[in-house]
Amino acid sequence: MNVVRPIAAPGRPAVATLGLFDCDIHPRPLSLEEYRPWLSTEMWHRVQTYGIRARHGFAKGYPFPKAAPFASRRDAWPPGKLPGTDLDFMRQQHLDYHGIDIGVLNPLQPSGQGDQNDALSAAMTYAVNEWQLERWLKNEPRLRASVVVPYEDGEASAREIRRRAGDPRFVQVLLLSRTAEPLGRKRYWPIYEAACEAGLPVAFHAFGYSGWAMTNGGWPSFYIEEVSEHATSCQAQVASLIVEGVFERFPTLKILMIECGFAWIPSLGWRLDKHWRKLKDEVPHLKRAPSEYLREHFYVSTQPIDEPEQPEHLLDVMSWIGWDRILYASDYPHWDFDDPRTAFPSFIPAERRRDIFGANARALYGIPAV
């Protein structure tokens, strides 16, 4: 007898036979009131009276227009609400429709990360972590949380990571890519130490504001420059992490770069290696060529994937980084969202796409097969 079964997830790519993991979903609160249950009276007073103070020159909003309101898909607005605020809407439009097996939450705005006030940043990030559990994970077993940390305060960040250690609902530590000092500096080492203890990878998601101009020539004029600039600022972060000796000190540390692009990675490896051969006397704590640390410790997410004109160039880049180091990301509900059915060109071999959708994230996050 033939049985017609409805398609469970019409938007799921057929090649995702080892699971479909999305390592970049952005939830947001309708208002700061949602965090209030986990903020002390004093901190709530501070939030109300002084507000969130990002490290850039604008009291409200962003330095650049984000292509679309709230940087979001026009069709991702739940009726009467903001994008990313409604679990049912997210289920319907994304988790169910695309058949996502595991989705990792990366709360970006407002989260208190990178705030000028360290104490407020610590209180806010704690609240955001509790909020992820209560508001999202409690009702949706497919979602996982990130440990949002007040990264400009290494010790406070380490406390927050240790508070979450051993809780399988948290699968990574989340930083933003623009920090007050390069990420290899000692002030950030407590983060790496606590993450290694907890067995969690450290992800940094593109954006955030450091207090510095985002290019070393100053502030650019346009959003297109801001979004393209991640290739250069993330190079500085990768170089710093490697050259400061972070991976010699923390050999089990894994770094995931989300939304940072990746075609720039091989050339950074080549250049570091070239100079290291002549200059290694300056950095005797490095025991291996910089590119070896790069390939061993770094993972990347796909959205937005680089699009060279020649297909083989993309394949070469991905192969250099490592086919097991690349994770699918949707960036839902943001405007530059990647539909898993169309995100990857078909010239990427099917078994590679299968791993990018499932096996690689499963291995990085240590999530066993269902």
């Binding site: 292509a67 898909r73 026009r74 069709d75 405007w335 530059d336 969202f337 990647d338 059915r341 169309t342």
Partner: protein, 140 residues
């Protein structure tokens, strides 16, 4: 030959408005009224498949040199709700690569209800109820 689909009374799609219709098995088409002129596009972005009907209609900003801008063709440029790819609703051609990147455009026009009821070969006996209205017809 393209089939003809009577998709809506004219009054249902006011100027500046739009309607998503199904024409053929599961084929979604979005119909626009641009100040009385009707245009129909396949409701699927050629980039990643976003539904164009959820996009914003805007105009065209052009520039002859840095710092000098012209804004015209208001309401004629459709932006995909996902990645902001822009399409000319008159032709379905994209702004950034009009010859290679385009969504399919279908002819659309207005016919009087009275004329439509004359079409055959099988014409039911009709009563003169709404035949004086005009209807939007898409050839898809």
């Amino acid at each position: 030959m393209a089939a003809r689909y009577v998709v809506a009374p004219v009054a249902e799609i006011p100027p500046g408005g739009r309607k998503v219709v199904e024409a053929g098995a599961g084929r979604r088409i979005v119909v626009f009224n641009l100040e009385g002129e009707f245009f129909a596009l396949l409701d699927r972005c050629p980039h990643q498949g976003g539904r164009l009907s959820g996009g914003k209609l805007c105009g065209l900003v052009e520039s002859d040199e840095p710092g000098v801008f012209h804004y015209d063709r208001k309401g004629e440029i459709l932006r995909c709700p996902w990645h902001q790819w822009e399409f000319d609703i008159r032709t379905g051609k994209s702004r950034h690569d009009p010859n290679r990147t385009r969504t399919r455009a279908f002819p659309a026009h207005v016919e009087s209800g009275a004329a439509l009821t004359q079409e055959g070969p099988y014409v039911l006996e009709t009563f003169p109820v709404r035949v004086e209205e005009d209807y939007v017809v898409v050839e898809a």
